[in-house]
C-alpha cells in the first residue's frame, strides 16, 4: 500500500477525526435550529429527541421508556418556552446572576486555547530552572519515637537530657515511621517538629518537642532528594504553566475587548 494510503487509513481510525466530524455535525445542527428570540415555533425534531435519549442513556445506562421520553420532551418544550419568553421580556438584562454567568463563560472561552495547549519540554524546563525550590521534592525520614507526655518543666527536668528510662504514654500515631515525607510528618506531629528533623542528629536518641509534648526520637535516616528533574515534577510544571497561560490569555482578551469600548466614568461630585 502506498504511503498516503497508509496514512489515510491511520487517519480514519483516528478518534480525533471522528470527534472532529461529529463536531462538524453539531455545528450544523446547532446552526440549523438556533431559534430567533421571537420565533413562535418550537420544533422537536429527531435530532433533539436523539439528544434527549442520549443524555438519558448516559445518566442511567438505558434508553428512556416511552412515558419517560414523553416527559423529557414535554420538559424540553417547557424549558424552551420559558427561555424564549424570558428573553422576549428582557428578563436576562441587568440580572446579576446572568451577568456573572456570562462573564465566567467568556473567560472560559478566552482561556480555552491555552487550556488545551501542550507546553514544550523547554518551556517546562525554563519554569523549573526559574524556581527550583518550588518543585523540590520533600526530604524523607525514617525514625522511631516515644511519646513522654506534655512538655512541662518537670518532665524536662526528669529527662535529664537523655530520658531513655522514662515511661512512655499511650500514643495513637506510629512509633516507627519508615521513609515518610516531611509533609506527612508535619500533618502528624506539627510543622515545627517536621522542620526540626532537618537538623536532628542521626542515630542518637534525642529529646524533641511536638505539638503534643516531648518525644524521644531516634532518627535513622534522612534522605534529601537531589534537585528535581523535569520528569519528576512534570505534572506540577504543566499545571503551573497552563494556569499561567490561561490567565495571561484572559488578560490579553480583556485588553482586546476593552480597546473596543469607550468607558466614561462619572463620579458623583
Amino acid at each position: 500500500m502506498s504511503d498516503w494510503r497508509t496514512r489515510a487509513a491511520a487517519l480514519l481510525r483516528e478518534p480525533l477525526l471522528h470527534f472532529l466530524m461529529a463536531g462538524a455535525l453539531v455545528f450544523a445542527a446547532l446552526s440549523g435550529r438556533a431559534p430567533g428570540v421571537g420565533e413562535r415555533r418550537i420544533v422537536v425534531d429527531e435530532m433533539v429527541v436523539a439528544g434527549l435519549v442520549n443524555h438519558h442513556i448516559q445518566a442511567f445506562r438505558r434508553p428512556p421508556t416511552a412515558p419517560e421520553l414523553d416527559e423529557l420532551i414535554r420538559d424540553h418544550v417547557r424549558s424552551e418556552v420559558y427561555y424564549r419568553e424570558a428573553l422576549q421580556l428582557g428578563l436576562d438584562r441587568d440580572d446579576e446572576v446572568v451577568k456573572k454567568r456570562l462573564r465566567n463563560k467568556i473567560l472560559a472561552v478566552a482561556g480555552a486555547e491555552a487550556e488545551a495547549a501542550q507546553p514544550t519540554d523547554a518551556q517546562l524546563q525554563a519554569l523549573l530552572t526559574k524556581d527550583p525550590a518550588r518543585y523540590a521534592l520533600p526530604p524523607r525520614y525514617t525514625l522511631t519515637q516515644r511519646y513522654l507526655g506534655e512538655d512541662t518543666p518537670a518532665l524536662r527536668a526528669a529527662t535529664g537530657g537523655s530520658g531513655k528510662a522514662l515511661p512512655t504514654v499511650p500514643f495513637p500515631l506510629p512509633a516507627r515511621v519508615v521513609d515518610a515525607a516531611a509533609f506527612d510528618l508535619a500533618q502528624q506531629f506539627g510543622d515545627d517538629f517536621a522542620a526540626a528533623l532537618s537538623k536532628t542528629p542521626i542515630g542518637a536518641w534525642t529529646l524533641m518537642a511536638s505539638g503534643f509534648g516531648l518525644h524521644l526520637v531516634k532518627l535513622e535516616q534522612r534522605a534529601v532528594p537531589p534537585p528535581p528533574r523535569l520528569a519528576d515534577v512534570r505534572q506540577r510544571l504543566e499545571n503551573d504553566w497552563r494556569s499561567a497561560a490561561v490567565r495571561s490569555a484572559q488578560d490579553a482578551q480583556l485588553q482586546t475587548l476593552l480597546a473596543g469600548y469607550d468607558v466614561a466614568i462619572e463620579r458623583p461630585k
Binding site: A8, A10, L11, P15, L16, L17, H18, F19, L20, M21, A22, G23, A24, L25, V26, F27, A28, L30, S31, G32, M47, G51, Q58, F60, R61, R62, D75, E96, N104, K105, I106, A108, V109, A110, A112, E113, A116, Q118, E150, V169, P170, F171, P172, L173, F183, A186, Q187, Q188, F193, G211, F212, G213, R234, Q235, N239, R242, S243, T256, L257, G260
Partner: protein
C-alpha cells in the same frame, strides 16, 4: 496521534489537535475527546503504585464538599475561582480570592472533592454564538461566518470541514446534538481535567464528584456524589440534576446503573439534615407508608456516610432531643428556625428526623421492625464552602460564599439564603473537615475507608481519634502496640461487633489534640439503644478527661474544664486541658439482648469563634447573643452491637 508517539503521527496534527480542543469547547462537546486523553496526560498516575500500610497510620484530612464558580449559587454570589484554584488552595498553594485577598491554607489538605451543583455544571458557548472577535483561527472564523449566513452557509461550512478532512461518513453513535446535555458534559469534562491534573496518588487525592441538590419544597435533602474511579470510567457519565424530583430514588438509580455498567463504585453523602424539616431521616418511606426493607438496604449500601457538621450548622444533637446532654446544641442557633430556604418554619416534632444521633437510634428501631438498618452510617465533617476555598479553622474563616469573605460587616449581616428572618452571618460555623483512616492517600484507599465507615468528623481542628471495639481489651493493652491489638482483636470505628465472649464490649479510645491547636477537655462515649419496651434511649458517658486528679464528677456530672479565652483579643492558652487522652472503657449498662451503637465525642477546651476573631481584627462590638467562643469537637463513626451477630 492519540495512541502513538508524536514522531509517527501525521504532520501538523498537533496543531490540529489544538484547534480541535478549541472547537470542542466552543461546541460544548469536549466529551467526545475521551479518546485523546493519553496525549494530554502526563505519564499514568496510578493508585496501585502507592503502597498501602498494614493498618491506617494517620488520619487523612480532607473536604468532601466544596463549591466553585461552576455552581449556580456560588457564582451568583460572585465567586470567580474554579475547580483548579480550589485544588491549588487545598494543596497549600497561594491563590487570590474573589474579593482580591491573597489566601493560602496554613496546613494543606490530604484530599478534596469538588462538588459543584449538577444543575448547571457550567456551559460552553456554541461556535454559532461566539463573538467573532474571539475566534482567532482563520478557518474557524470562516466557518463561523458561513454559519451566520443561514442554513445554506452552514451546509457549506459543514461540507468544507468534511472535505478538508477527506472523509464523509460519521459513525451515528457519535452524534449527540442535544445542547443542554452537551453543555453539562463539557464543563464536567473540564472539571475532570482539572481534578485529574492535580491528583497525585500518595500525596494529594482529588476525587470526581458533584452535588445532587435534592429539595422538597425548601427542605434540604442534598447529597454529594463521590466516585472511586479514574477518568476512564467517570468520563462515561454526566452529572444529573434533581429538578422536580422529591425522593432520592433517581440518584440511586443513577448510581446503581453507573456501578453496573462500568464496574466502578460511587457513594452518596447526605448533608444538612438539620435543614430538612424532618425529612432526611424519616421513620417511614419517603412520602409516607411503612419503610420497606428494600429501601433500607439500598440506602444503607449507597449512603454509608453522613456529613454531620459544616458551615450551615451542626447536625449531631439538639437540646430538644437530648435534654440531658449539656453539650448538645453546638451550631444549631439560627438553623433550628426553619428549613433551608426559610419558607417553612420548623416545629419541634421535626427535629427527630433531622439530627444524626436520633437517626442512629431510629436505625435501631427500624432494624428491630424489619431486619434492616437504613441509618447505619459513619460520620464526617466538611466545609460546603462556596468560595472555592476549603478553610475550616476559626481564625481563617473565609465565608460561606464570596459575599461574606473576610470583612467588617459579615458577622452581623442578615443572610438572605432564603430569608432575612432569624439567620445572621455569625450563625455560620467555620465548618469542618473529614478525617479518614485510610491505608494510603489514594482514591481507592480513601473511598474504601469511607465505605467501611472508618472515618470521623471534626468541626475544624485536626484531632486524632482512634476507637476500637472488642471483647477482651484490658488496660494492659495500652502498654504495648494497642493499635495493632485494636485491629487484630477488635473492630475500628464504623465496624460491627460480632462473635463476642461473655460480658460487655470493651473499647480502646484515644484522642490526641490538633498538633497546632487547642488542648482537649474530655472524651465522651454516646450510646444509643432500644430498650425492652421498644423505645430508643441514649446516654452520654464521660470516659476520660483532663486533670482527672482534681476534676471529679459530682452526681455523674464532670466539672467544666475552665476557660482561658480572652474574647477581646481572640486568644486562648493551653494552660488547661490535655494533649492526649486514652482509656479502655466498658459499658456499665450493657445488656446483651439489645442492639446498641456507641460513638465517641471529643471536646476541646473553649476557644474563640470566628466572630470573635473578626471582632478583634475589625474592632467590632458584637451583640450579646453572638457566639464568641465554643468547644470544638470531633465525632467518631459509631461501632454497632447486634445481639444476633454474637
Amino acid at each position: 496521534m492519540c495512541a502513538k508517539g508524536p514522531e509517527s503521527g501525521p504532520i501538523r496534527l498537533g496543531d490540529m489537535m489544538r484547534r480541535t480542543m478549541w472547537a470542542a469547547l466552543l461546541l460544548g462537546s469536549a466529551g467526545l475527546l475521551a479518546g485523546c486523553d493519553q496525549l494530554k496526560r502526563a505519564p499514568a498516575k496510578s493508585d496501585a503504585a502507592v503502597k498501602e500500610s498494614e493498618f491506617p497510620e494517620r488520619p487523612l484530612w480532607g473536604d468532601t464538599h466544596l463549591h466553585t464558580s461552576n455552581s449556580v449559587d456560588a457564582f451568583g454570589f460572585g465567586v470567580r475561582l474554579g475547580p483548579e484554584d480550589a485544588l491549588r488552595f487545598a494543596r497549600g498553594e497561594e491563590v487570590t480570592s474573589t474579593t482580591g485577598l491573597k489566601a493560602r491554607l496554613s496546613r494543606p489538605l490530604d484530599f478534596l472533592v469538588v462538588t459543584d451543583h449538577a444543575e448547571a455544571l457550567g456551559a460552553a458557548k456554541a461556535l454559532y454564538d461566539a463573538p467573532r472577535l474571539l475566534i482567532r483561527d482563520e478557518t474557524m472564523r470562516r466557518w463561523h461566518d458561513l454559519m451566520q449566513e443561514g442554513p445554506a452557509g452552514s451546509q457549506r461550512a459543514m461540507a468544507e470541514i468534511l472535505d478538508a478532512r477527506g472523509r464523509n461518513a460519521i459513525p451515528a453513535a457519535m452524534i449527540n446534538p442535544d445542547g443542554a446535555a452537551e453543555r453539562t458534559k463539557s464543563v464536567w469534562n473540564s472539571n475532570i481535567d482539572a481534578v485529574e491534573n492535580y491528583n497525585e496518588p500518595g500525596k494529594f487525592t482529588a476525587f470526581f464528584g458533584f452535588e445532587y441538590t435534592l429539595m422538597q419544597g425548601g427542605n434540604n435533602l442534598h447529597r454529594n456524589i463521590i466516585f472511586r474511579d479514574g477518568v476512564d470510567r467517570v468520563r462515561t457519565v454526566v452529572p444529573i440534576d434533581p429538578t422536580y424530583k422529591a425522593t432520592p430514588d433517581e440518584i440511586w438509580n443513577y448510581m446503581e446503573a453507573y456501578e453496573k455498567s462500568t464496574g466502578g463504585r460511587v457513594l452518596a453523602i447526605p448533608h444538612n439534615s438539620n435543614l430538612s424539616n424532618g425529612l432526611m431521616f424519616e421513620l417511614t418511606q419517603p412520602g409516607g407508608g411503612p419503610m420497606t426493607a428494600a429501601y433500607a438496604k439500598r440506602r444503607a449500601r449507597l449512603e454509608p456516610v453522613v456529613e454531620i457538621t459544616q458551615i450551615k450548622g451542626d447536625s449531631e444533637a439538639h437540646p430538644f432531643l437530648s435534654p440531658n446532654d449539656e453539650f448538645a446544641g453546638y451550631g444549631v442557633a439560627g438553623w433550628e428556625l426553619s428549613n433551608l430556604l426559610g419558607n417553612q418554619p420548623k416545629v419541634p416534632a421535626m427535629f427527630a428526623g433531622e439530627y444524626v444521633r436520633e437517626a442512629l437510634k431510629r436505625g435501631l428501631t427500624l432494624e428491630a421492625q424489619m431486619g434492616v438498618n437504613p441509618y447505619k452510617f459513619g460520620l464526617i465533617g466538611s466545609t460546603d464552602s462556596h468560595t472555592a476555598l476549603a478553610t475550616a479553622d476559626e481564625d481563617q474563616f473565609f465565608g460561606k460564599h464570596s459575599g461574606n469573605e473576610p470583612g467588617a460587616k459579615r458577622a452581623l449581616q442578615a443572610q438572605n439564603l432564603g430569608t432575612r428572618k432569624g439567620r445572621f452571618g455569625w450563625h455560620y460555623l467555620a465548618s469542618g473537615y473529614a478525617a479518614v483512616w485510610a491505608k494510603a492517600n489514594t482514591r481507592a484507599a480513601i473511598f474504601d475507608a469511607l465505605e467501611r465507615r472508618e472515618v470521623y468528623a471534626s468541626t475544624g481542628p485536626r484531632m486524632t481519634v482512634r476507637f476500637f471495639g472488642g471483647w477482651d481489651f484490658t488496660a494492659d493493652d495500652l502498654k504495648g502496640d494497642w493499635v495493632r491489638a485494636g485491629y487484630k482483636r477488635g473492630v475500628p470505628m464504623g465496624g460491627e461487633l460480632a462473635g463476642g465472649k461473655d460480658g460487655a464490649p470493651r473499647f480502646i479510645i484515644s484522642a490526641l489534640k490538633d498538633p497546632q491547636g487547642a488542648n482537649l477537655d474530655r472524651v465522651q462515649v454516646v450510646k444509643g439503644w432500644v430498650d425492652k419496651g421498644g423505645k430508643a434511649q441514649e446516654k452520654v458517658f464521660d470516659v476520660v478527661w483532663s486533670s482527672a486528679d482534681v476534676r471529679k464528677p459530682v452526681a455523674e456530672k464532670l466539672p467544666p474544664v475552665g476557660d482561658t479565652v480572652n474574647v477581646a483579643a481572640a486568644t486562648y492558652t493551653n494552660s488547661i486541658g490535655a494533649a492526649a487522652l486514652t482509656t479502655v472503657w466498658t459499658d456499665p449498662g450493657f445488656d446483651p439482648k439489645f442492639s446498641a451503637f456507641y460513638y465517641v465525642r471529643v471536646l476541646e477546651i473553649p476557644t474563640p469563634s470566628w466572630p470573635a476573631f473578626d471582632a478583634a481584627r475589625y474592632k467590632l462590638k458584637l451583640p450579646a447573643d453572638v457566639r464568641v467562643k465554643q468547644q470544638e469537637r470531633a465525632y467518631s463513626s459509631p461501632i454497632w452491637y447486634t445481639p444476633g451477630a454474637r
